[in-house]
């Protein structure tokens, strides 16, 4: 049995230690907001936060994150500044990549909220979006960054 702490709750999961976190979150825990896109860590749509850092769950084994705090979009407060900005600027189109995109943004904004636009874009470069929501992502992050600063001066 593998012990996983996801969104604040500890789950005992019957899975092989080498199983990618992605499939355990989706198939065992029903957290389907975590998306499969490529299975090789290339597209970023499976991104979750592991101890606050964005990780690609499709190439992260469950064994390696035992004892860590895992956060999926369900665990991010519904009124989190990133979610609020994403909603207000209507960033998602199909939305498939956006849960991963938002969690990547949370990591970037938490660690380095004052990045200039170009570096912020570079920090988001590894999450793919085929619909082309790109032009709205950095403006949404700017908006979220402002609010996150207000909340945590």
């Amino acid at each position: 049995m593998i012990s996983l702490k996801v969104n604040g709750t500890v789950h005992e999961v019957d899975a092989d230690p080498g199983t990618p976190l992605l499939w355990v979150l989706r198939d065992n825990l029903g957290l389907t907001s975590v998306k499969y896109g490529c299975g090789e860590g290339m597209c970023g749509v499976c991104t979750v936060l592991v101890d606050g850092r964005a990780e690609r769950s499709c190439v992260t084994t469950v064994e390696s994150v035992q004892g860590s705090e895992i956060l999926t979009i369900e665990g991010l407060p519904a009124d989190h500044p990133v979610k609020a900005a994403w909603t207000e600027l209507q960033v998602p189109q199909c939305g498939y990549c956006q849960t991963g995109m938002m969690l990547q943004a949370v990591d970037v904004l938490t660690a380095r909220p004052d990045l200039p636009d170009g570096e912020m874009a570079a920090a988001m470069d590894s999450v793919a979006c085929r619909c082309g929501s790109h032009p709205r992502v950095i403006p949404a992050m700017r908006q979220a960054a402002g609010k996150m600063k207000e909340e945590k001066p």
Binding site: D27, Y36, C94, A122, G132
Partner: protein, 717 residues
């Protein structure tokens, strides 16, 4: 006239030929949850609207929302004509059913930017009919003349101050006849259409609640992953499934057509099981196929027999007599859809029922396939469209429906088939590779007098609809060359189909996507040869005040065309008219002479799509079209080797990253034209606009996609 008859008449007048009468029985077909009965709602005048006693309005749609915002746009049209309270409107996806078939196509499918374009009148009438019935119900209750009543935000009002909420009127309205030809609003009175609204799917998408097809679950379901042939035309000669069956969680290994399915309790088990299969595949139909062979075949067809798509005047004579002749050859590669949610389908086949849940753009095709495989009548085959993680034309294909239904039949339980990213690349139906040779003739004044175009590209229709290909001509392959917004007195367009086994399919804007690149690049070459400004040259070839003329003029104004350009940068424009809309784009770029990297700093986009139903969705579609088109222009090429697809994942197929995405300024024209499409026309112009801008700043003409950095390195350095 009976109530039923009047309903039929209404729907007919709304361009629908309705085979299924709107009865409570038919409503079950429209429930979002096929397993449950539809709740009784007091007022459902037709297939598209339900009004509850509490005043909430449900708009039922049969179109697929792949991210275009279609569902919200359709609900906005109905809500506006109905004068519903927008805050009480929700939208639900219906099961595939007659009323949702495309009024022009006669089938239910999402493509060609038609969801609103083909339903503008029908949706307005649907809303207006419901409104009129509610007004009549209120007037009857009050004993007043309906003409004296007004409506707004879900209420009927009378000048004397009385008002009734729609919910209160629902039961009375339900007893009335559906009007055949309700009066439609004056566009000046639109209160929802043309406004900024929160997309109805936004909250669920941001909170991660949207369940895409890949996320779909049904009790008792197993998951299947298939080993598909690694080469075109290959078949399994022998299958050793022993190791696969030993994988924990694997339930069965079953052949499906030329593929082998591993069915398991979980996705991970199925994936591991597939990896453990030992299959000896036949060599396939074209074992020597590779990039060079593809290219050679395309080039070979540049000469020899061809179909003639257009022949006006005498292009050959006019070219002979022209003062200046420009000739160029352009080439574009195969491009993959790469929608982020891979292909999938869940099916549950029972004795007298087949249920299909799929992120599909082809409901009728999926239903027909269920009918074919199960031998059931269409009403026993329920197709539920799930939310889609992109699509761009890929989801019009139904091979995964075949796989899921076949497996569910064999296993007698619900089966979800999921494709991997590798499957997605290896078995996509690609945007065709294409090569063309264009000759243009200018007279002594620099006026364009002749255009001769030989286009080679695989035919999509030959696979999907062979009867649409007459005399070797697939009209979808030449769109964008045929129908270009320029009048040229002598035109000849020839088209040849290469002999290649690579399947091709619809990809956002279809033929326009590559033909706009070649046509609009070549128009730029002609403008340069004529010594004219690219915008002036184009406008001079367009009918004055035509849709494209106005769109390009709007672009030039908004982009400050002719004004100062920042040092080291160049600007280019391109225009497309397709899917009932006109789009013009300007790109401002710079080129790093050391690396050959093109940076697109700014894109300005003007669009005329008729009435702007949902402006934020129009902006989003233009942004998305620019990003996808730029990705294709800068990076994308599917490779082939050893008889099959060599590209196996995103490590070999890069999509445009965040740091390469330009700011996109979108301007929506005040239009005098009918409603047009928005999903596709934003894509075609960006590749030629960038190529033209690169030429402006470097003098290098890029005639091949994706743009070669090497060519720019050498030239600029």
């Amino acid at each position: 006239m009976s109530e039923d008859m009047s309903r039929r008449c209404f729907l007919k007048s709304g361009l629908l030929v309705l085979a299924v009468a709107i009865t409570p029985g038919a409503l079950v077909l429209m429930n979002v949850s096929p397993g449950a009965a539809a709740p009784a709602t007091p007022f459902r005048p037709h297939a598209f609207v339900e009004l509850d006693a509490d005043g909430s309005v449900t708009v039922w749609v049969g179109q697929t929302d792949l991210g275009q915002g279609t569902h919200t746009g359709m609900a906005m049209i109905i809500a506006d004509e109905m004068d519903a309270d927008w805050n009480r409107v929700r939208v639900r996806t219906a099961l595939a059913a007659e009323p949702f078939k495309d009024p022009e196509w006669g089938m239910q499918a999402t493509g060609g930017s038609t969801s609103i374009r083909h339903r503008w009148d029908m949706l307005r009438k649907a809303g207006a009919a419901a409104r009129l019935m509610l007004v009549q119900a209120a007037a009857r209750q009050w004993g007043v003349d309906p003409a004296a009543c007004t409506t707004a935000a879900g209420q009927v009002r009378h000048p004397d101050g009385r008002s009734l909420g729609y919910g209160e009127l629902a039961a009375r309205a339900a007893a009335l006849r559906v009007p055949a030809d309700p009066l439609l609003k004056n566009p000046a009175d639109y209160a929802v259409i043309g406004t900024l609204r929160r997309r109805l799917d936004m909250e669920d998408k941001v909170q991660g609640r949207t369940a895409f097809g890949f996320d779909f679950r049904v009790p008792g379901m197993c998951t299947a992953v298939l080993a598909h042939p690694p080469r075109f035309g290959a078949r399994p000669l022998s299958v050793d499934a022993d190791a696969a069956r030993q994988v924990r969680g694997v339930l069965d290994v079953i052949p499906v057509g030329d593929a082998v399915a591993v069915c398991a309790e979980s996705t991970w088990s199925a994936l591991q099981g597939r990896d453990a299969l030992k299959i000896n595949w036949s060599e396939g139909s074209h074992p020597n196929l590779n990039d060079e062979a593809v290219n050679a075949e395309l080039l070979a067809k540049l000469d020899g027999p061809a179909a003639v798509a257009e022949d006006a005047g005498n292009a050959a004579e006019a070219l002979f007599a022209a003062a200046t002749v420009v000739e160029s050859v352009y080439a574009v590669p195969y491009v993959a859809h790469a929608q982020l949610e891979p292909t999938n389908c869940t099916a549950h086949v029972e004795k007298d029922r087949c249920r299909i849940w799929a992120p599909t753009q082809g409901q009728t095709a999926a239903q027909d396939e269920g009918v074919r495989l199960c031998g059931l009548p269409p009403e026993k085959v329920e197709v539920m469209t799930t939310p889609c993680g992109g699509g761009f034309g890929r989801r019009g294909e139904i091979e995964v429906v075949t796989e899921a239904v076949t497996l569910s039949k064999a296993l007698r339980r619900p089966v979800k088939v999921v494709w991997t990213r590798g499957d997605e690349f290896a078995h996509d139906v690609f945007r065709p590779a294409s090569i063309c040779r264009i000759r243009g003739g200018l007279d002594g004044d620099g006026s364009l007098v002749a255009w001769s175009h030989r286009l080679v590209a695989s035919s999509i229709m030959s696979r999907l609809w062979p009867s649409a290909v007459q005399n070797g001509l697939d009209p979808t392959s030449v769109e964008g060359v045929e129908g270009m917004p320029y009048s040229v007195p002598n035109r000849r367009i020839e088209y040849a189909i290469p002999d290649l086994p690579i399947p091709v399919g619809w990809l956002r804007s279809v033929g326009n996507s590559y033909n706009c690149f070649t046509v609009e690049s070549f128009v730029d070459e002609l403008a340069h040869a004529a010594g004219k400004d690219p915008v002036e040259f184009r406008l001079g070839l367009m009918e004055k005040d035509s849709r494209s003329h106005r769109t390009l003029s709007l672009l030039a104004e908004k982009a400050g065309w002719g004004g100062p350009v920042p040092a080291g940068r160049g600007r280019g424009v391109a225009v497309t008219q397709c899917f009932g809309s006109s789009v013009a784009q300007m790109a401002e770029v710079s080129v790093d002479g050391r690396t050959g990297v093109i940076t697109v700093h700014r894109v300005v986009c003007a669009v005329d799509c008729g009435p702007a139903v949902y402006p934020d969705a129009i902006v989003a579609q233009m942004e998305g079209g620019v990003v996808m088109g730029l990705s294709i222009a800068l990076h994308e090429r599917v490779k082939f080797a050893k008889g099959g697809v060599a590209t196996s994942g995103f490590s070999q197929y890069r999509l445009l990253g965040m740091k390469e995405a330009p700011a996109v300024e979108v301007f929506i024209a005040e239009s005098r034209h009918p409603v047009g499409g928005i999903g596709e026309p934003g894509l075609p112009p960006i590749a030629p606009a960038v190529a033209n801008a690169v030429f402006a700043v470097t003098g290098v003409r890029l005639r091949e996609l994706p743009f070669s950095r090497d060519a720019l390195k050498t030239a600029v350095a």
